[in-house]
């Protein structure tokens, strides 16, 4: 259980957390933080060399398991994939969903087919994985904690975030509902909504929208633009036993931009 001397949170030796999007950015930072705090991590990503590079930075590489998979490849099979991971690495004590991508699509360019594809990745995939993760046969009783990485856009979208923001808001709403349904089993479900964080996705956005966008945005962040580690600490706390009385929240972590 909690050791008062190890800081805010720590993880029991039998803790197993599945982290999606762990090959870069916020997902990688969460996976490394959890691993350093003593949890076994199942790290999912699409790019094996990048996943291996993250594992090289892990404090306990023997407890850093790689689970490469393109989550969009066969959505209907995600449940059996999660089941196999649990059979191989142990029942889950936590799930962190950080896989995602951004698309800047102004309303004038909205297209249903493209929107559905983004909703698949940002909404349906997280729900499929979470549904399998909370299956009683796949998780440790009374221990399961889920963190979804949503986005500040779920609360205060910028221009061009019609679909991205809506998908993240839908996820946050679903998480809130899940928290009520799962609370009787001691399962906590929370969202973190980061503002701009320096990741590959951030670089992509800046490349697309230009340095002017970056300068304008940076001016709106009193504490500056974030780093993945700024999100990983909170995610680790929410996935730890210390957060047992906190559920159904969508936490805005945005360096003081405040929407």
């Amino acid at each position: 259980m909690q050791d008062q001397d190890t800081g805010i949170c720590s993880f029991d030796a039998d803790s197993v957390v599945l982290v999606t999007g762990a090959s870069s950015g916020i997902g990688a930072a969460i996976a490394l933080k959890l691993n350093a705090l003593g949890a076994a991590v199942i790290a999912n990503g699409t790019n094996v060399p990048r996943l291996e590079a993250v594992r090289e930075r892990a404090r306990h590489p023997d407890r850093f398991h790689l689970a490469p998979r393109d989550l969009l490849a066969d959505i209907d099979q995600l449940a059996s994939w999660v089941k196999e991971l649990c059979a191989r690495h142990g029942k889950l004590s936590g799930l962190a969903i950080a896989a995602g991508k951004t698309e800047t699509i102004p309303f004038a360019a909205y297209e249903r087919a493209r929107a559905l594809a983004l909703f698949d990745l940002l909404f349906h995939v997280p729900l499929e994985i979470a549904k399998a993760a909370v299956d009683r046969r796949n998780c440790l009783p009374g221990r399961m904690k889920i963190v979804f990485i949503a986005a500040a856009a779920s609360i205060a979208p910028n221009k061009g975030q019609i679909v991205y923001g809506a998908a993240k808001a839908a996820l946050a709403c679903a998480a809130r509902c899940m928290s009520k349904e799962l609370a009787p089993r001691g399962i906590c479900v929370n969202c973190i909504s980061p503002g701009l964080v320096r990741t590959a996705m951030f670089d992509e956005t800046v490349a697309l929208l230009g340095e002017d966008f970056l300068n304008q945005e940076a001016a709106r962040y009193p504490l500056g633009i974030g780093d993945p580690e700024d999100i990983a600490g909170l995610a680790a706390f929410l996935l730890s036993p210390a957060a047992r009385w906190m559920t159904g929240q969508n936490l805005l972590v945005d360096g003081g931009r405040l929407g």
């Binding site: 299956d135 009683r136 046969r137 349904e181 009787p184």
Partner: protein, 75 residues
């Protein structure tokens, strides 16, 4: 749907580790709760086109009673 298939579906919906038999006492299972009722209501609708209610499900003591609710949908 056969009885075996129904019991397998039920096990999946209730997410229990061990197989169910037709005379398992549902009330003894921690999985038998109002959320399970909601899942079963959707299942009866999708699989048998039947509308069942919380009250009907509450009265079921065993999977056998649930099978009876299918009006011959499980053979």
């Amino acid at each position: 749907m056969t009885r075996e298939e129904f019991l397998e579906e039920l096990q999946g919906m209730l997410q229990c580790e061990s197989a169910l038999s037709a005379d398992t006492v549902l009330a003894d299972m921690e999985e038998w709760d109002s959320l399970a009722f909601m899942v079963l209501i959707a299942f009866f609708d999708k699989s048998f086109g039947l509308r069942v209610t919380f009250d009907m499900l509450k009265k079921c003591r065993t999977p056998e009673d649930l099978i009876s609710l299918t009006n011959g949908g499980v053979a």
